[in-house]
Each structure stands twice: as structure tokens, then as C-alpha cells.
Symmetry: C2
Subunit: 219 residues, 2 copies
DNA sequence: CTTTTTCCTTAACCCAGGTTAATAAATAGA
DNA sequence: TCTATTTATTAACCTGGGTTAAGGAAAAAG
């Protein structure tokens, strides 16, 4: 069987986690993969439904959000190369609390829960990959939580502009506002504040206004 | 070697995750475990230091917090039976961004990063346990995030009183306030509001004021 | 290109929570 | 026990973000 180009990206991802991945093991994986496409606006996941797949994005863009008394609260974006799912629902076999919707036409590699369990049984190393993926997701959530507690909204937005310009390019402002936990109106204010700031700031301390490096303090 | 009573609780925990855990594998684990005690106020982890252990709590109580311009922001509590650590720092081998401090005299079973890697090498099933633990931590963070987005502060506090009375008993109010993301003064207001509410509420809709069950909506 | 819809911005008003301060209650130390 | 320190409460004031509303820009539909 010749390698499907649709599995190349996920193969590279698995190899990056487990360079020793054998071609036998890989074949077994691809037996369980299925390709699916979503048109802009379609849903990968809906609230109330148990997530039955994890989906690796070949291309496209998704958003995850909660619906809380009529309002959408964006919690995550997924782009090409990411694993997307309500992983909590997938793991717990409980109805999802979130929606995951395509913001662009998107192609994913699906793997169902049952198929994944088969893989875990038949390929012990899969547990290793599964561990690394879960750890990676955990780290990401830690990063997010730390940022929310640690960084002002204004700086969080500045960080997005600086570090994730693709978000600004591909996602409407009101979703980014929601992601930051504020209203679109508030994000407008943030942006106008940022505008004034950056016009003034050149006069700021030229000598390294670096964040202090915090070392272990005494109790 | 006769079983140490200090490892009984963690043994039960591992067995709950992997009933098939062999005694050989368990012996190998205990070879790497060390017992440590912390007096109230002492630190398990300090900001700026790479977390070198994961610590299973035999008894006691810990809090994890960020220090952001002089203020403590509590992000987590750990009690007997929990695994405590700055797991992000532990996994990434990067300096911790958090402090973890004992709120009571505490006894932990330590496992160092290097020892854990040895265990992962020698016992393939360990990856399975590691995966489940990482997944569990991920699920907990999801729960927390969902709650923060979904539930009002007043209801979050009510939920703590209802579901985690041990938190109320063992932790000062101002730390719970911090955990909820508000000031102690705000928590006082929340409590007084709750007082008024519960005195009035008996007159509320007697016919099942249940949260609507949300099913998959149409796109 | 025009129309329609979606998205963004600005302004005025309001309010929950932060801030400060003062007091009371509870806990720890002597 | 009594004192000192920590913790909790309450009130007055202030501020930043929510809310509402309206106008303008941009994108999609025709």
C-alpha cells in the first residue's frame, strides 16, 4: 500500500513524538484513520453529544466554545497540525459541554475511541504517545491558566498580535475578544489604548525594561 | 521486604489505575520512592526552581499559587490522596512559575524525574499509568476552566460549600477568595448575598428548578 | 456594482468588584 | 490567662468592563 499524502502530516507528528515508530505500527494506525472534511460553519462537535473522535487537522481552522445562557464563550482555537476534540468528553465518555465549529473549510484525520483502544491494546508504545499527547495538552492548559492569572488583558492581546498573528488574520475580532474573556466593545477599547501607548512608548526606559527574573524566595 | 505502611495509600492508587500491577513492578517503584514531611508553612516547590519531584500526599494539605506583583493567586489545593507538583515544570524541565506550600503538616511520597524515567524504561505499563494520570490532570483542568466560564462566582462558592466542605474547614477564607479569583472583601459580599438568598429561596419555583438539559443544537 | 449582512468602533450610562480604611472576631503566642 | 497577630466583615469610594444604542466599515450576496 503506498503512503497516502493525507496521512503525511500526522505521520510526521507521530514520528516527532516517537522516532522509533515502526512501519508495522504505523500501518495499524492508518487502518483506523478516516478522512473527513468540514465546510466553514459546520460542527466537529456539539454540546450534549459524546465526543467519539479525536481529529488531527490537515488544514483549516476550528474554534471551541461554550454556550452559556445564549452567549458563546470561546475557549480554544485549533489549526492545521493540531489535535482537535472535546478531549474531556472523549476520555470520560460523557456528553460534551462544548461546540467545535469550523471557521474555514477544514480537513481532519479522524480516530474513533474504540479504534484508539484497539491501538492501545495492540501497540504498547501507543501508550507512550498517548501519554505525551495528554501531557502536552496539560502543559498547554497550564500555560493558558498562568497567562490569565499573570498577564493583564492589554498585554495578553499584545502577545497575541506579537506571537500569533495568524489568529488576528483568520479570526474575527469578536471571537478573540471572547477568547480573552471580554466583550467586543472592551477589545475595541483595549486596541485604542494600545494605539495610544505604542505611540508614546518610544520614550520609555531605553535601558532594558525587562521583567525581573524571579528566583526562589525564602519562606 | 515487608510492605511499608507509608506506601499503602499510593499502592492502592496505582492498583486502582492498573489492577494488573505486578508485585515485581511495584517493588521496582518503591525502590525509587522516598518519604518526606513538611511542616505547616514550608514549601514543596518554589517559583524559579525546576520541579524535580512529583509528590503523592499521604496526609496533609497544600496550596499552589502564583505570585503576581506581590499578590498571591491561589490556583490549586492538594490534599491526602492527591498527586502534588508543578507538573508543568516537572515535565518541561523549566523553572516553576508557582509556589506550593503546606497549609498543614504534610507527609508525601516523592518520586524524582530521573527515577520516573527509569521506571518508564523498565516497566512499559508505567506509560499506561502515566497516561491515565496526565489525562486525569487534563480532565481536572477542563472541569475547572468550564466552571469558571460557565458558573457565576456566587454559585461557584455555593458549590464549594456543598461539594468540598473540607476546603471551608481547613483553608482560610482569603485563600478561597483568591482561588475564586476575587478579593476577600468580595467573598464577604458573596457570603452575605448567599445568606439573604437562602433565607428567601424556599419560596422559589417548587417544581424542579433544574438546569435545562442541553442537547445538540442545529447549526 | 449595489445591496445586505456581518463586523467593528465610539459614546453614555450603570454596576460589580477592587481599593482603602476602620473595626471586630478569631487564632496563636506568651 | 492575656496580648498580639492574623483573618473576616462592613462601609464609602472609584474604576474598568458590561450594556445599550447608533453609525460606519468591511465583507458577502445578488
Amino acid at each position: 500500500m503506498e503512503p497516502s499524502p493525507q496521512f503525511e502530516r500526522i505521520r510526521a507528528y507521530y514520528l516527532s513524538l516517537l522516532p522509533a515508530l515502526t512501519s508495522d505500527a504505523w500501518e495499524l494506525c492508518t487502518d483506523h484513520f478516516t478522512i473527513r472534511t468540514l465546510k466553514k460553519g459546520e460542527f466537529l462537535q456539539k454540546q450534549g453529544v459524546v465526543a467519539n473522535h479525536v481529529s488531527f487537522l490537515n488544514y483549516g481552522l476550528l474554534r471551541m466554545y461554550h454556550l452559556v445562557d445564549g452567549r458563546e464563550k470561546v475557549s480554544e482555537f485549533f489549526k492545521e497540525g493540531d489535535y482537535a476534540a472535546d478531549y474531556r468528553s472523549f476520555l470520560m465518555r460523557e456528553p460534551a459541554t462544548t461546540f467545535v465549529q469550523a471557521l474555514e473549510d477544514t480537513e481532519v484525520v479522524d480516530l474513533s475511541f474504540d479504534d484508539l483502544q484497539v491501538i492501545y491494546k495492540q501497540i504498547p508504545e501507543a501508550n507512550y504517545i498517548g501519554r505525551l499527547i495528554a501531557e502536552e495538552l496539560f502543559k498547554d492548559m497550564c500555560r493558558r491558566t498562568t497567562t490569565q492569572v499573570t498577564v493583564s488583558i492589554d498585554d495578553q492581546y499584545a502577545a497575541i498580535v506579537r506571537d500569533k498573528p495568524w489568529l488576528i488574520q483568520r479570526v474575527p475580532q469578536y471571537m478573540i475578544a471572547s477568547y480573552l474573556g471580554v466583550t467586543p466593545e472592551a477589545l475595541s477599547r483595549i486596541k485604542s489604548r494600545a494605539g495610544k501607548r505604542s505611540r508614546k512608548i518610544p520614550l520609555r526606559p531605553v535601558t532594558a525594561p525587562v521583567a525581573e527574573i524571579v528566583t526562589a524566595a525564602q519562606p
